[in-house]
């Protein structure tokens, strides 16, 4: 629909410089410049390298997104940007750029939450989110179960990892197996040739007294390392495909079991899965089976929209405009630990003005 808001979104919370353009729930452009290869030899994302890359890529990536969408910057109805959580220095590059464009073009600015954006991106694939929606977000930086009644105002955390993020566990296991960085895609690939029942790796926080919706992957990662080292020490070869498949099975088993349980307990009949680990083929397969069995509709965006990108930020920005939510001020901060409950960072002046009005 032509009268739906046209919004540009900027994402720089980690190592991807993402710029997306959407009209309502329609994706028009999704430009990404990644510095992932610059981090590979360090075995993880180096914040300063990521920040430098964001600065170089920022304006060219915006130009590319505008060209792809075939629009002029002056046509936009708003500019959205990830205000947090994420790497502080990396976030600051995107937030500063977004402010400059919004101010120069006289457009409203929306500082939004990275996690809420991961959920909202599914609107570009499957239309507006049902209310409420349960979301399982799994990536190298986060592993959370979130319940959202309104993606622009109300996101409640039910559980999260107490140690490593799921994607981090993939990276570390890939390292133990000598498969390189990032670990997610290569472990997924190796696992396809292996037997997921070959080794019984532990399922963290799955006991009757454990917190119902929290996750733990640190013990699993250590168990895999111990198992592999013991083999090597005994002079035996390591069945890499079986280890990868059994590890992946343990991760996806816990994630999908808890997600389905959370849906049932809260009477929610839609589950969305987002974040980079949502690209994992076994997670998608197992989630589909378990959701089908439980009568839950599963929504998983295509892999390109699951990883960090600008389209997800634009999607949430467009929803903010559509629902007439308050924009942010030009003194907007990048907040590396922005709580998931803060879907956006509204104009503080309006906020305090409303406050004063209530008190007088």
């Amino acid at each position: 629909m032509a009268d739906e808001p046209l919004v540009l979104g900027i994402e720089t919370s980690c190592d991807e410089t993402g710029v997306g353009i959407v009209r309502g729930t329609t994706l028009l452009a999704d430009a990404v410049a990644s510095s992932v290869n610059d981090h590979a030899r360090f075995g993880g994302v180096v914040p300063e390298i990521a920040s430098r890359a964001h600065l170089e890529a920022m304006v060219p990536t915006i130009r590319r997104a505008l060209d792809t969408a075939g629009i002029k910057a002056s046509d936009l109805d708003g500019i959205a940007v990830t205000a947090g959580p994420g790497l502080a220095g990396a976030l600051l590059v995107g937030v500063s750029a977004a402010k400059a464009y919004a101010w120069a073009l006289d457009k409203p600015l929306y500082g939004v939450n990275h996690l809420a954006s991961h959920i909202c991106v599914d609107q570009l694939e499957h239309g507006r989110l049902p209310q409420p929606t349960m979301a399982l977000l799994v990536s190298g930086g986060h592993s959370s179960l979130l319940l959202s009644a309104d993606i622009t105002t109300d996101v409640r955390p039910l559980g999260a990892t107490i140690d490593d993020a799921a994607g981090e566990a993939f990276d570390k296991v890939a390292r133990v197996l000598g498969l390189g960085f990032p670990g997610g895609p290569v472990v997924d690939r190796k696992a396809r040739e292996g037997d997921p029942r070959a080794i019984a790796f532990p399922r963290g926080l799955s006991g009757p007294k454990d917190p119902e919706y929290d996750f733990s992957f640190s013990g699993l990662k250590t168990a895999v390392a111990r198992w592999v080292e013991a083999r090597r020490r005994a002079g035996e070869s390591v069945p890499i495909a079986d280890v990868a498949a059994s590890f992946q099975e343990a991760v996806t088993d816990v994630l999908t079991r808890k997600a389905v349980k959370a849906c049932k307990a809260n009477g929610v009949d839609h589950l969305m899965i987002g974040g980079g680990v949502a690209a994992n083929s076994r997670l998608r397969e197992m989630a589909q089976q378990r959701c089908d069995k439980a009568g839950i509709v599963l929504r998983v965006p295509r892999p390109g929209l699951c990883t960090d990108n600008g389209a997800m930020v634009a999607a949430l920005g467009a929803e903010m405009v559509w629902r007439d939510r308050a924009p942010s001020a030009f003194d907007l901060s990048a907040d590396s630990s922005l709580p998931v409950t803060e879907v956006s960072v509204p104009h503080t002046d309006l906020h305090s003005a409303a406050h004063r009005a209530l008190q007088s």
């Binding site: 300063e48 964001h54 915006i62 500063s96 402010k99 400059a100 120069a104 000598g178 390392a225 901060s333």
Partner: protein, 217 residues
């Protein structure tokens, strides 16, 4: 000419508007941790004070450092984005050159060294001859390893009196001086720098030393 100038390479967040002859308005706030929050409101304010509509700007000048990176990048990415959105060219200025320009405008004569705080017990520095031309630097070093000119300016010089015994202000850069430096250079037909940061250091990053075993040896 209507030039918007700003700098975030020192603890100051500073913006100015210059018409090719003089500074029309200037803002200056010192808060090393809030460059991101302060810069755009400062730009807005300085244009309002100068009575200049942003669409009348003809160029942007930005301090490209050297300076602590996180704050420095706020200025550079803002300049790049404004230049793109407003359709005006962006000129880079070495922040130390702008401080030197200001020191001379305030009456400092003869050769001198400009030094700013690079943290980690180091300074960013450059030296200028008696006509104001940069003859050494910019570079980043420990003060003890330097042999600066007898006269010096900048917060980095004031911080290390053993190396810089007669240090004086200005401590930080002012956008008015930066704008004036840029306007003077452009009027003389000289080229300024590209809008690219002068980091002077490689990123801190360590390649992990092999895989660490979890089993006891």
């Amino acid at each position: 000419m209507l030039l918007l100038a700003f700098d975030t390479a020192t603890p100051a967040v500073t913006a100015a508007v210059h018409d090719g002859t003089a500074v029309l308005a200037e803002t200056f706030q010192v808060d090393a941790r809030r460059h991101g929050e302060l810069l755009l409101p400062a730009v807005e304010e300085v244009l309002r004070t100068a009575g200049v509509d942003k669409h009348r700007l003809t160029a942007i000048a930005v301090g490209v450092g050297p300076g602590p990176y996180t704050g420095l990048r706020v200025g550079l990415v803002t300049a790049a984005a404004l230049g793109d959105a407003l359709g005006v060219p962006v000129h880079g200025v070495c922040t130390l050159d702008a401080i030197a320009h200001q020191a001379r405008a305030e009456g400092l004569t003869g050769p001198f060294t400009v030094a700013t705080d690079a943290r980690r017990k180091e300074v960013y520095w450059a030296s200028y001859d008696d006509s104001g031309i940069r003859v050494q630097g910019p570079a980043v070093d420990r003060p003890a390893e330097l042999a600066p000119e007898a006269r010096s300016v900048g917060a980095g010089a004031l911080l290390y009196p053993d190396t810089f015994p007669h240090a004086q202000g200005p401590e930080h850069v002012s956008a008015g001086a930066l704008a004036d430096f840029a306007a003077t250079e452009l009027a003389a037909g000289r080229e300024l720098l590209p809008n690219v940061p002068l980091y002077l250091r490689r990123p801190d990053a360590q390649v992990p030393a092999g895989y660490k075993a979890v089993l006891p040896a």
